[in-house]
């Protein structure tokens, strides 16, 4: 685990499994600006190894969503852009910078807010997604219904009438149908009860185990995220200040207190680190 004092360069990650696997997604020196002046993130380096579940943590406004947008593209009308750095997918630079082309290449985002088409039915929401070229649409559809059986009965319902949890499930299901190389999930737990959020979060490693999907997960709720993630980056005011394997982050109480808001009785004990054990604390 490494901590940066103040700016410059990526933190050297721990010598363990992440580096031995091929990297499906890499962001090098990412800088995002809005309206050409306001810098949202700067010099951000991160990577998602094949089949890994990587978390991107940090407080509100730290730049997590901007990082995800840097990886998945901006529309010209949004006045935001990746102004420095590059994104590599399977080691190759991305072709194009608009969300559609990037999604077609395999980087699929589950957004934080507008994540489903409210005026379309659940079934239409799934139909309307375009699958990556050469992707396995049918197989991924079956997977989506296997992981989220509740969706099967909701086919005809307009997505605007779904509950928060159903909506999140549909959003993830839609992303799966696109058969992504890497799935970006923005603030899954927002607006959901802790129990529901945990249940949906737990589907991610399950999907990973079933299909080898790689996931980059943005979460304000660090506790919940670290339940499922292998590795985490911590953003603060637009920069990566800390990164490391799950176990090491959790074992360090100073880190927990300073960056994750976990103190005293709510922090993890040194032996924690087993998945699914004990559920959520606090």
């Amino acid at each position: 685990m490494s901590e940066l004092a103040g700016g410059g360069g990526p933190a050297p990650p721990m010598a363990a499994s992440p580096q031995n696997r091929a990297l499906v997604l890499q962001g090098d020196g990412l800088q995002v600006k809005y309206t050409r002046h306001a810098i949202a993130i700067e010099d951000v380096h991160l990577s998602v190894p094949e089949g890994a579940l990587v978390a991107l943590l940090g407080a509100n406004g730290a730049g997590k969503t901007s990082t995800l947008r840097a990886l998945s593209g901006f529309m010209p009308s949004e006045q935001g852009a990746l102004t420095a750095g590059r994104v590599l997918l399977d080691g190759k630079p991305l072709r194009g910078s608009d969300p559609r082309r990037i999604a077609r290449q395999g980087i699929v985002l589950v957004p934080e807010r507008d994540k489903v088409f409210a005026t379309l039915t659940v079934e239409e929401n799934l139909t309307v997604v375009q699958t990556r070229r050469g992707g396995d649409r049918r197989g991924m559809r079956e997977l989506a219904f296997e992981v989220f059986p509740a969706l099967a009965k909701l086919g005809r319902r307009p997505a605007g009438l779904l509950s928060g949890g159903e909506r999140q499930m549909l959003a993830i299901a839609r992303a799966l149908v696109a058969d992504p190389r890497v799935l970006l999930v923005d603030e899954l737990s927002l607006g959901l009860s802790p129990a529901l959020a945990a249940r949906i979060l737990e589907t991610l490693p399950r999907i990973r185990d079933l299909r080898g999907l790689s996931v980059l997960l943005v979460e304000q709720n660090a506790r919940a995220a670290l339940e499922v993630a292998d590795y985490a980056y911590i953003l603060q005011t637009g920069r990566v200040v800390l990164e490391g394997e799950r176990r090491l982050l959790l074992d360090n109480e100073a880190v927990q207190a300073k960056y994750l808001g976990l103190t005293g009785e709510t922090s993890y004990g040194k032996s924690a680190g087993h998945r699914g054990e004990g559920g959520l604390h606090g």
Partner: protein, 299 residues
Amino acid sequence: MPGSVQNAIAAAIPLAATYVIAGLAWAIIFRASKIFNFATAQFIVLGAYLAYCLTRDAHIPVWLALILAAAAMALIGALTQTIFMRRLLDASGDGSAQASFAPVILTFGLAAVIEHVLSISFGTGPEYIASPFPKTIFHPFSGVVLTSANVIIGVIALVLWGGSVLFIRLSKWGMQMRAAAEQPLLASQSGINVNGILIGAWAAAAVMAAIAGITYSYSSVVSPDIGNIGLRSLAPVIVGGMDSVTGVLPGAIIVALAESFAAVGFGESVRDAAVQVVILAVLVVRPSGLLGGATVRRP
């Protein structure tokens, strides 16, 4: 039935048919992109003049002229979207004032250019396109006279309307269009080619405009006055609900009847004003129209 009522109804039927086809031109673009394309009225006029040119200069049979003119209009519509509208992206694509402002103003400029280029090219004089329809006459009920042109154009209107409604509701592209209309960003992120969808919508709308203008000319004249009818055809869309393609039919029937009765009762010159009064009334009483969606009202 008293004679004037019969006359009004008889006049309303072909008028409603034209209003359906022209109304589709407004409604399709609005449904796809929440843009009020003021140039629709001039698209209608342009379509009619293009067909006129083809029949006059190239001596092409009338039905072929319609197809070629419609194709030319489709191209113009597509180019308008991809060259101009696409560049006018604003911060929010959700139909707020900021988002729709610049595209609307642009269509004003476009309408002005088309109108006056046509005026330079053709002047004000009425021109004629021979009607390709047989001149048979029907008497569906007492006192009401319809020509075969009225009937055929009425059928065309119903087919175009029904086809549009079904296409949007059931087809894959219709689904993508509805998605893109609701949230362009999410649609792009889902892999949908939003610009491509909009090009299709603009082309389809321009074709509708051409058909409306040309079929109208068959039983009337080709002249700049068609532009007034084009602007009046906005009323069926507002009555039916601006973002409802389905609503164009009931809207057209209601407006055509209202206009015809007003004309019979108060004279030809009240047509424009009567229709606009209907529009204002709808805006005040029920802005979303008959079938308009929740997107219309303020949150």
